[in-house]
Amino acid sequence: MTEPIISVRNLVVEFPLRRGLFTAVDGVSFDIMPGEILGVVGESGAGKSMTGAAIIGLIEPPGRIARGEIYLKGCRIDNLPPEEMSSLRGKRIGMVFQDPLTSLNPLYTIGQQLIETIRRHLPLNEAQARQRAIELLAEAGIPNPETRIDSYPHQFSGGMRQRVVIALALAAEPELIIADEPTSALDVSVQAQIIKVLKKLCESRGAAVMLVTHDMGVIAETASRMIVMNKGKIVETGSVGDIIKRPKEDYTIRLIKAIPSIKDETRRHEVPVSPKPLVEVKNLTRDFDLSPGFFDRLIKGSKRNVVHAVRDVSFDIRKGSTYGLVGESGSGKSTCARMLVGLIKPTSGNVLLQGEDIARGLSQERRQMVQMIFQDPYASLNPRWRVGDIIAEPMRALKLVSSRSEAEDRVADLLQRVRLDPISMRKYPHEFSGGQRQRIAIARALSSQPEFIVCDEPTSALDVSVQAQVLDLMRDLQDEYGLTYLLISHNLAVVRQMADDVGVMHSGVLVEQGPVDTIFDNPQADYTRMLLNAVPDISKVE
């Protein structure tokens, strides 16, 4: 029997806080064999990232390893002095972080950063290190590595940067790679490529990988074994197929049930038939002028540069239905949403709400019909306002209430409808979790009694189980009030679960649209097919 690359035994990580001891990781034990990819899943706060940070010795103070042992190929490493630990990092244990946009130092070329890392660990001179850096970039799938090596991080796209990060992590051929949410910040099609690169590189080198992620789909596609963590403890360990198909523990069962799949046939209420669509979008186009300044044009002869963010998009949204708009970042879906609520004006084309053009300004009664829910519930609520004031604001702005007590009654009612305690209106947003904040955002959107709500990635900042709750709430509210939604999401499974009709956007163009089941089961456009194939989905596990 081969020796495991890494063994963790009864690891306990503690944070001494003002209010007492917080145990982030509580008695975790596992092994990873050479060439094996171990998936670690769990929701935020489960302690999965902390376990990775403990192994590589990068726990932020005041956190510390309180008990337990970590062995790297049989040698204990958790009690090494800082200097020796720092020479292990990069050399024997590599790490890939979540956000490729912030993992690289913006002021140095990627070549400088690679060469620096290589020369720190391997006895090579500058020219040899450069050669090796070029080879690594080529292996990680960067085209033209000879010229690209002298580029700065901001000259790469997100996916390309993550390849650079992987190349950096692999620079000194580490035996173990800890990948902490390596694809969570990326588009699905890029995500699939990165997973492939990571998998290939590890196979060819026989490195062990600890893949930390909240995305069960990614694990289903990549890992062979997985552990499920909750509140610092390991809930379940086993092969990926076993856990996804036959979860044993209650927590795992609930977690897996909460994950939407693109293969889900959804229960759907009947959309009431109405002769005229609620929202008509006609030949909507929006250009952004990104031309260089006057002097640049004069001296360098740079050309005017106009980006067509949205080109000639037309669709209708039926009253009481949910229209899903999917696409990758930069496809123009958020620009579309902003034009739909009148936050930006279209370059040409129009948006008709019950036949009235939004761009020309709406009458008061129509204006209160449209509301919006944003992606990040941490950023979209004013931190200095009480929840009651946040929710009451649309009512006050539109003068829907005459007195303070009336407003308070309405707010209490709204909070109850989004399943929050009416007492919450006295609290501030920071006292709530992400899911609760998104409920507050929904209550705010509902406060003007709208008919049409534009939801821009309403759940992508949330954990899966919370996401399921928020989506359920949205559906219940739709049934209750006959709401019409425009749901914008990069998460195809969420759209499949929620939408009645779907439009697929790519580079500003609506490539395909139709009823949700038709699009998902029988996609016509190449792009839609590619997108659907790229999604890491739990249904794909054998």
Binding site: I56, L58, S86, S87, L88, R89, G90, K91, G94, M95, F97, D99, T102, S103, L104, N105, P106, L107, Y108, T109, E116, T117, R120, H121, Y152, H154, Q155, V165, L168, A169, A171, A172, L290, S291, P292, G293, F294, F295, D296, L298, I299, K300, S302, N305
Partner: protein, 325 residues
């Protein structure tokens, strides 16, 4: 790059034109220049003649145009008080101010940077706490108090250093320098420290805050995960990123060291541009005030231009991203 500098230059010209207008307004509306040139008992006819001779009866824009044309050639008229051309006056006082400003800028930069980095890297140490507390004194005590305090300790009680003046100066071309004589250098120490103290603490606190922020960034964590040495991380990766915002503030601060050394110069009887200005204000010597105003605007514009170019050199994102906003 060229386009960038040209754009900045164009903006600078606009700034200078606006300042010139304000300086010109000083001439027009702060007292009657003719009244200050002639005595109270001059005849009305003399007034009229002088007005005509000085061109004060011409339309506003003609006068302003003449003012600009003269200013561009370095002509700001003749000081009412000293009866010398203003440009000569300023030029003769300039070396003293510039030597003082640069000496204190160097003190502020060297100590500000190193103490800032130290307090950021060892935020919990006793020494860092002590430095931070003392720096509060530097920020909050007014300059004249520090100057007088230093004079009392080092000039009056200990008698180590002179309390006023520049000491002996050596003339090189048209530049009087105090840096070549021992009395000159000894005289420079106290005013330079006084002038630098505020900037020093400001730069230090800024560097510390920025560096602590940078050390929290993902790329620093990633640099640690790559196993780089602490030295490479702190001084290679963190410090360079710290410099981007620090450059702006520091540049502007150095501008104000040159421009507003007035208090220090007064306390130490330093024969620089600042004390010239103070003396001119007291007797409403408008040509000197106007020229001083233009001079300071010019200093700031030049420093801003240098800061912008430094920005370009440090941050590659600006080099390529100048077309995108």
């Amino acid at each position: 790059m060229l386009a960038f500098i040209l754009r900045r230059l164009a903006q600078s010209i606009v700034v200078m034109a606006v300042v010139a207008l304000i300086a010109f307004m000083l001439f027009r509306y702060v007292g009657d220049p003719v009244a200050s040139l002639l005595g109270q008992d001059s005849r009305l006819q003399d007034f009229e003649e002088l007005r005509e001779r000085l061109g004060l009866n011409d339309p506003f824009y003609v006068q302003f145009g003449r003012f600009i044309a003269n200013a561009v050639q370095g002509e700001f008229g003749i000081s009412y008080r000293l009866q010398q051309p203003v440009s000569e006056l300023i030029l003769s006082r300039l070396p003293a101010t510039i030597e003082l400003a640069f000496a204190s800028a160097i003190i502020a930069l060297v100590f500000g940077l190193s103490l800032g980095v130290f307090t950021a890297l060892k935020p919990r140490s006793f020494a860092a706490g002590l430095i931070m507390t003392l720096s509060l004194v530097g920020v909050s005590l007014p300059t004249f108090l520090i100057g007088i305090g230093l004079i009392y300790v080092f000039a009056v009680e200990l008698q180590w250093l002179p309390s006023f003046g520049r000491g002996d100066v050596v003339r090189i071309g048209s530049w009087d320098t105090g840096l070549l004589t021992s009395t000159g250098i000894r005289s420079l120490i106290l005013p330079a420290i006084t002038l630098s103290l505020f900037q020093l603490t400001l730069i230090m606190r800024l560097v510390r805050a920025e560096m602590l922020e940078v050390l929290r960034q993902d790329y620093i964590r990633f640099a640690r995960a790559r196993g780089l040495s602490n030295r490479a991380i702190n001084f290679g990766h963190a410090l360079k990123n710290t410099m981007v915002p620090v450059i702006t503030i520091t540049g502007l601060q150095l501008g104000s060291v040159i421009a507003f050394s007035i208090v220090t110069e007064t306390v130490f009887q330093w024969p620089g541009v600042g004390s010239l200005f103070i003396n001119s204000v007291q007797v409403v010597d408008v040509p000197v005030m106007a020229a001083y105003l233009m001079f300071i605007a010019f200093v700031f514009v030049v420093i801003n231009l240098i800061v912008d170019i430094l920005y370009f050199a440090v941050d590659p994102r600006l080099r390529i991203g100048s077309g995108r906003r």
